[in-house]
Structures are given as C-alpha cells and as structure tokens.
Amino acid sequence: MLELSGVSHVYPNGTRALDDVTLSIPKGMFGLLGPNGAGKSTLMRTIACLQAPTAGAIRFGEIDVLAQPDALRRTLGYLPQDFGVYPRVSAYQMLDHMAVLKGIHDARDRRGVVENLLNQTNLWAVRGKAIAGFSGGMRQRFGIAQALIGDPELIIVDEPTAGLDPEERNRFLNLLAGIGENVVVILSTHIVDDVADLCPRMAVLAEGRVQLEGPPRDLIGSIAGRVWQRTIAHQQLPDMQAAHEVISHRFFAGDIVVHVLSDSQPEGFAPVTGGLEDVYFATLAQTRRPAAAAAA
C-alpha cells in the first residue's frame, strides 16, 4: 500500500539521516523500531510531506506522495513526536478546529466526528478542559483523536508511548489496536514491546538504513536456538564482551544477565528462548560492530 523506494535524506550539515530506505508497507499496523537518532522521525516527517527527501520516491496507493502532497494530506493522520498545544484551548474546540482544517465543513458532521472521537479516546469527560493542562497520556490520546479525524487511510504515529506510565501506555496501545486493519498505521518507537504487542509487520531502522524487515514471529524464529544466557558479576562484563557476541545485558538484583548470540552453546551459558528484544539488539549489535571496527 505504501511504497518507499530509495528514500534518502541528507541534511545541509552533512548528516545522512536516511540512506536508501526501501520499504513496502501493507495495510495494518507496521512497527518501525530503532534507537534514538536512527532517522525514524525524519522518515515519518518525510512520509507526512513535512519535508522533502533529497532522493527517492514514495507512493501511497495511487498517490505519488512527493508530487501530490495535498492528495496525501487529505487521507493522512499524523501524530508527531513531542507536540505542543495552544494555551487556553479546550480539547473539544481544538478538535473542532482541526476538523475544519481537515475539510469537514458541515457543522453537524463535524460535531458528530468530534464527539465520536472524544468518546473513543476517553476524553469526553474532559472535553471542556484546556489541553495544555492535560497529562502526558491524555495529551497523546488527544493527539491520536486529531489524527483520526476524517477517516484517514494512512496514520503515522511517531514515538507515541515515550514518557507514558505503563497504565497510560496500555490504554494508548489499546486505542491504536482498535483503529482497524483496513488502514496503514505506521508506529515508530524505540520500545520493543510496543511493536511486539501490536504489529504483524515491522522493520528495524538504524543509522538511516533499514537493517531488518518482516513479521516479528519470523524474525524471532530466525534466531531460535542461537541465544544463550548467563548471569555474571558486573566486573566480568568487559571480558564477556571480548569473548562472546554479547547482544544485550541488563541488571538483575545487582548482577548482570547477558544474552549472547552463538551457533553452539558457549561454556557456562544456558539456552534461552529469544524474544523480539534479542532480535532487535542482535541487529543493533551487528550495525555497531563495523562502525566500532572502523573507529578502532
């Protein structure tokens, strides 16, 4: 449905934010996973026509996105990362205004749409309150409400769960899951669980390039039987990193639990069922290694 081919973006200061990104994104929820600074937001902004890439082409269905940005905007819902709001404006008033800007001119239609979305996002009770006073979770729900105005077929949500507490995050993901399967939803995030929970397809973006793409289940399958775990004291970590391909480590009760990737069982390690997190960290580890080698 959404086809990106060879999309590259180089900022004037020479930063190559996107490097030949080619992706085919079908209907349904698509997770775009990557560390901070991987180029996710640049890609999201590019797809949303907020900035033009230096090279490449983007098509959405019949729309040539770069040539007909207005055609795309008519069917686009966009929730940017860290957005701000006007002071003293209520959720209802702002949604109503956004509905006007999105081309719903009939006042009665608009009222139906806005009231519906306020209910759907659980903001009905606070519809008259100023958005500026909302909590992070409420604000994000407002953000998704405005993105859903006008039944868009392409919905872009950029890092929506960053900074939400677990309960708010769950509520937000529920909301996203309910959007429906007949539209393209691109969820960009650096939180692996967001993607694992929701997305039938995903891609990993790092250093501006697509490192990995596919259904999470297949990707997890690709590392099955190759992930091993061991608990060590934290002083041992450098040795461990030198000896093995450590894909991730995390603290547990003062010690460190390391995961390594290996075709055969290393000494002292126990097999562990790899999760999406291991896939993700293995991919990032591979991305970093050539860079580290070059630096050394």
């Binding site: 207005d70 929730l79 860290d82 006007y86 006007v100 001119h105």
Partner: protein, 287 residues
C-alpha cells in the same frame, strides 16, 4: 467559509487571551481619563468639549499609534503561534490551503484588533458622563459622534496596521523581532512627522500620505473655531478621502495563491509564509 471558520476560531482564541483584556482595560482607561479629567486632553483647545466630534477624531487617530503594539501581540501571535507552541506539524499535515489559513488568521486578528480598539470611544463616552465632569465641557455626544470617526479614521488605520504587522511577523517569524520592528516604525514615524509637520511646504503631501490621517485631520481643521470642533463631523472628502483610499490601496501587493478574498490585507504575506516553510526544511534537526 473555511476562512470564516478559521477566523472565528482565532477570535474565540484571542477573546480568552489575557493580553486582549489588559489592552482593552488600558485603552478604556485612556479614553476615560481623557474625557473625565479636565487636566488631561489630547490635541483639543480648552473650550472644546471632551466628547466633541473633533476630540474623538483626534483621540482615535493618535492612540492608534500606541495601539500598534497591541495589534502586534494579536497578529504576530497568529503567525508565530504554531511554531512557538509546537502544534505546527499537525496543522501542516492537514490539507488546508496556506492562503485560506493565513486569510482566516489575519481576518480573525483584524476583528479582534477592531473590537479591542472600541474601548477608546467607550472610555470617552463613559468618562464624559461622569458626574464630576463640568457639564460646560461636555457636548451632546450621541452614537454617530463616536461611530463616524471610528469608521473613517480608526478602522482604515487598523486594517493598514494589521496588514503591515502581519507581514512583519511573517517575515521575521518572531514576536520579539516584530515588537522591535514596530518600535522602529513608530519612532521613524514620529521623527518624520515632527520634521515635516513644521514645514508648510509639506502640508499637502503629509495630509495625503501620512498613514494615521493625523496630517489630513490637521489640514482640514486648521482654521476651525472651537464651535466647529464641537459640532462638525470630520468631512470625508479632499485629502482625507485620498489619504484613506491610499492607506487601503498602498499596501504591499502580490499574488496570493488561491486568491482568497481578504479584503485588502497584504497579499504578499502568504508568499513569504511559503518561503519560510521552505526555509524550515533547511534547519530541521534530526531527532
């Protein structure tokens, strides 16, 4: 329709803005003070009524100069708000046309500027009705006494000022720069009119081209008696008429995309807006 909806939102937004009400209070008090106090007056000789047509005309023309700062806070805010608050990306992801959007914002800001300026005639009317004011210094007043100069002096001035400041804010994209721009403008205006105002040779030119119409009012009323000042409405003819027409026509012009009807607002603003959008791509930072 779209433009009207955007303007309505803008008006409702500004009506909740404390700046609007503070400005209304200040300009109401100035109007009130000028009328209610025997010691304070602007441009009127002693025997002229506090609420005479002439006094109101002068007050509306002169105070407009100070009101420029208030207008800046309305129209410049309308331009920079999206960037300052961080709501801009959502607006720019909608299919709304830039010209219509700008036209709506401008129109809303203009209406708010006009509404706020009504505090001046209101203040004068109320001030001259105060019991301590010597009845000898108060004329009959009446709605038309206030409405006429508001129509021929204040509104054209407000349209010109708003368009000018809207453009200024669109170019500079900054509230502070807009205020500094206005400051320079006002100082330049005061200097030029102080220098030229003393030269009889420039009297005619000043009457025609001086944008706040003070020159034209001065020329018309140069030989008026106090009785005339108390009774005559400022005649909308001669150099004042030319001046008012020029004020409406002589503003920056260009081809606004989409050709939205914005009365006579500066149509070059949308183009500058577009350009500044292009500029934004350049300094967008990777996050």
């Amino acid at each position: 329709m779209l433009t009207a909806s955007i303007a309505t939102f803008e008006i409702r937004y500004q009506l909740k803005n404390p700046v609007f009400w503070v400005a209304v209070a200040i300009f109401f008090l100035i109007g009130f003070g000028v009328a209610a106090s025997n010691n304070v007056s602007i441009g009127t000789p002693g025997s002229v009524h506090e609420n005479s047509p002439f006094a109101i005309t002068i007050a509306l023309a002169l105070l407009g100069l100070f009101y420029l700062f208030v207008i800046t806070s309305f129209v410049a805010n309308a331009v920079v708000r999206d960037d300052v608050t961080g709501f801009g990306p959502m607006i720019r992801a909608t299919p709304v046309g830039r010209s219509q959007f700008l036209a709506g914002r401008f129109l809303g800001g203009l209406v708010i500027a006009i509404l706020g300026y009504m505090a001046v005639p209101l203040g004068i009317a109320l001030g001259s009705a105060m019991p301590w004011v010597d009845p000898e210094t108060v004329g009959p007043g009446g709605f038309a006494t206030y409405a006429w100069p508001f129509l021929v002096i204040a509104i054209p001035n407000l349209i010109l000022s708003s368009a000018l400041l809207f453009s200024l804010a669109t170019i500079t994209r900054s509230m502070l720069a807009s205020y500094i721009g206005v400051l320079i403008l006002v100082m330049g205006y005061l200097t030029v009119s102080a220098v030229l105002g003393n030269e009889p040779a420039y009297q005619d030119a000043l009457a025609r081209f001086e944008p706040m119409a003070l020159g034209a009012i001065g020329e018309i009323s140069r030989y008026w008696t106090a009785a005339e000042m108390n009774t005559r409405a400022i005649p909308f003819e001669g150099n004042l008429l030319i001046n008012r027409l020029l004020v409406q026509a002589g503003k920056p012009r260009g081809q606004g995309r989409g050709g939205a009807a914005t009365g006579s607002d500066s149509a070059c603003a949308p183009q500058l807006w577009h350009r500044s959008f292009a500029g934004e791509f350049l300094d967008a930072v990777e996050d």
